[in-house]
């Protein structure tokens, strides 16, 4: 029981870290302090947390434009993430990537890709590598419902299927690609029908319930490690903010729908459960939260005091040496 509690507290801590990091960013973006496009992960925290809890540093993940949560859950450093988002030299990509392209190869985070669907074929390569290495490592790829309509998605499923690649597909079905509803854009109706057509086992979970995500991802990853081939996890969820953080951008989703999903907050609902079960006391929650807020503030201060790259740094890293 003790060790179970430990896992639950870790899941909670990861989710809350993502939430606090993202909340800080929302403030900074709307204050005009961050360049470029920032896609907020708020509302979807349970998915990154629940899946990545089963992955080791040797397991590799590929992420997408809404990728901060995956970085944090995979163990990336908040300071270097924040510095990257600010375009500072101390950031993960030395300021070359920004919010949409954070990567930390040292923890098996192969990078966020800003081209919808593009991460899927890349993840088949990571899984292929794991298969060749034969140590029982796996790869996981995160992508949205919108990405499922790109050709690359279908090609990647097929490839993973015929080669029995050790790959976990994690579809974060937040039900919209920008303002286009998945219900309109997808002939299959249910995403889960598509992996089934490729003979890839699939489970649909409530993506705001971290315990459910964690439990199902756990058995999926265990099966993949044993050589069972790819597995597809569809997580039903919702994003709280506009497609990316921007005053001007339109949000055509029904306001009532958003409110309804806010009531299904993955962080608050889990916190309530843990309190009810006596796993976490209000005091303990305060301690955890304070520590997270401090880490986020430190990351932010680090980003602010870090220097910008020199203009000429733009000429470096075009090729490896």
């Amino acid at each position: 029981m003790q060790s179970d509690d430990k896992v639950l507290i870790e899941l909670y801590t990861t989710m809350l870290t993502i939430r606090r990091f993202e909340e800080r960013l929302v403030r900074e973006v709307f204050a005009g302090n961050i360049p470029g496009f920032v896609h907020s992960y708020i509302g979807q925290e349970a998915i990154a947390a629940g899946v990545c809890r089963h992955l080791t540093k040797r397991d590799r993940i590929v992420s997408h434009h809404r990728g901060h949560g995956h970085c944090i859950a995979k163990g990336a450093d908040l300071k270097r993430m924040m510095a990257e988002i600010y375009g500072k030299k101390t950031g993960y990509c030395k300021g070359k990537g920004g919010s949409m392209h954070i990567a930390d190869f040292s923890v098996g985070m192969l990078g966020a890709d800003g081209i919808v669907g593009a991460g899927l074929p890349i993840s088949t390569g990571a899984a292929f590598a794991a298969q060749l290495e034969g140590r029982g490592d796996v790869a996981a790829v995160f992508f949205g419902d919108g990405a499922c309509n790109e050709g690359e998605f279908h090609e990647a499923l097929n490839l993973a299927g015929i080669w029995k690649l050790p790959l976990l597909f994690v579809c974060e079905n937040n039900q919209y690609g920008v303002n286009t509803p998945a219900a309109y854009a997808m002939a299959a109706g249910e995403i889960s029908r598509i992996p089934k057509a490729h003979n890839i086992p699939c489970r649909v979970v409530f993506g705001n319930d971290v315990e459910e995500v964690h439990r199902v991802a756990g058995s999926a990853v265990a099966g993949i490690r044993k050589g069972g081939g790819p597995f597809f996890l569809e997580c039903r969820t919702y994003r709280w903010h506009k497609h990316f953080l921007s005053q001007g951008l339109e949000d055509l989703r029904p306001a009532a729908e958003l409110e309804e999903w806010k009531r299904k907050c993955p962080v608050a609902s889990f916190e309530k459960k843990l309190r009810g079960r006596g796993v976490l006391s209000p005091a303990k929650i305060r301690t955890i939260d304070d520590r997270i807020l401090r880490r986020v503030e430190e990351a932010h201060a680090f980003a602010l005091r870090s220097p910008y790259p020199q203009p000429q740094d733009a000429l470096q890293d075009i090729y490896s040496t």
Binding site: G97, G114, I115, V178, T180, P309, P311, A314
Partner: protein
């Protein structure tokens, strides 16, 4: 005269031409709300995110007697559709011996300058110039984008309109009365006698500001080609023969660029070459992917200061 934005002007072109031609269809991943309202969702389709198939569908529609417009949004997303654009749209008229027409308009934004980083910032028009069969537009003002798109919507060929992202909200005067701008006709944005500056895309605006800054000292002629295929060779050559000096400004990477093509055009034309008084200069994007962080991004794309340096460089007496 009324003023409207670049984006509004582009939209008007589509509205006007779609009113004339009921066999025209529009596809985009975002709802084109005002088009849908007027023409209905049969003709104005919101699409899944599937760029390659949208262009493919446009080709099939066109080969079946329809006119198709695809808005791919950003040129980097357009790369997902390269197969259909490069292997099919570009070649299909020729390869099938001219049996059918393929009236297709593909729109996408280009350029950098908004910290979009490498996957959202690029100016790849010269790649497309290298594939015969496509007509290529690079409109730089609301007036031009409307006139050029209207011409595109009457053209029986695949046309790609590369529209600088940063210009979408800029406003200029656009007449209410119908007009068209023919392809292959450059705009001389400013008359001058000392240096010809051929400036592409957003750089046309930067070049005009640079020219204004040296007014009275250096007389700069600024030419905006407006379409890259066909390219108005005559206007460029005529101007260079007059001034004897050529500076080409292009936000795209320098290697194999539209800029290098324009320089080659001037230097390989004997009468023009004979009148050159300075080596032609290119002010281009550096050959790197667009970096995210503002100081680096600013460094890799041309700006007014870099254009001024090149203009002054061209005026300097060659050292003997």
């Amino acid at each position: 005269m009324r003023k409207i934005t670049y984006d509004q002007a582009a939209n008007e072109a589509i509205q006007e031409e779609f009113r004339k031609n009921p066999r025209s269809v529009h596809m985009s991943t975002d709802l084109a709300a005002d088009l849908a309202e007027e023409f209905g969702t049969d003709r104005i389709r919101v699409t899944p995110i599937a760029e390659n198939s949208l262009v493919g569908a446009a080709i099939g529609l066109a080969g079946s007697g329809f006119r198709a417009v695809v808005n791919l949004r950003m040129a980097t997303f357009g790369f997902v559709a390269l197969d259909q654009m490069m292997n099919h749209a570009a070649k299909i008229t020729y390869m099938f011996g001219g049996q059918a027409k393929f009236p297709i308009l593909i729109r996408m934004t280009v350029g950098a300058g908004f910290s979009g980083a490498a996957e959202h910032s690029i100016s790849p028009y010269s790649m497309f110039m290298n594939v015969p069969g496509l007509k290529i537009l690079l409109p730089t003002t609301p007036y031009d984008v409307k006139g050029l798109l209207k011409t595109a919507l009457g053209d029986p060929n695949p046309v790609i309109s590369f529209e600088p992202f940063m210009l979408g909200r800029t406003e200029t005067e656009v007449p209410e009365k119908e007009y068209f701008i023919p392809f292959g006709k450059a705009a001389v944005r400013r008359r001058g006698t000392d240096v010809t500056v051929v400036a592409l895309g957003r750089m046309a605006h930067e070049a005009l500001e640079a020219a204004a800054e040296v007014e009275g000292k250096i007389s700069v002629e600024v030419i905006d080609p407006r379409t890259l295929v066909p390219l108005d060779r005559d206007s460029i050559l005529r101007s260079v023969r007059k001034t004897g000096r050529l500076v080409v400004v292009d936000e795209a990477c320098r290697t194999c660029s539209a800029a290098s093509e324009i320089v080659a055009l001037a230097t390989s034309d004997r009468p023009t070459f004979a009148r050159l008084r300075a080596a032609p200069a290119q002010v281009c994007g550096l050959d790197v992917p667009i970096p995210f962080s503002p100081p680096m991004e600013k460094f890799v794309i041309p700006d007014r200061a870099k254009i001024l340096r090149a203009i002054r460089g061209a005026m300097r007496r060659p050292s003997t």
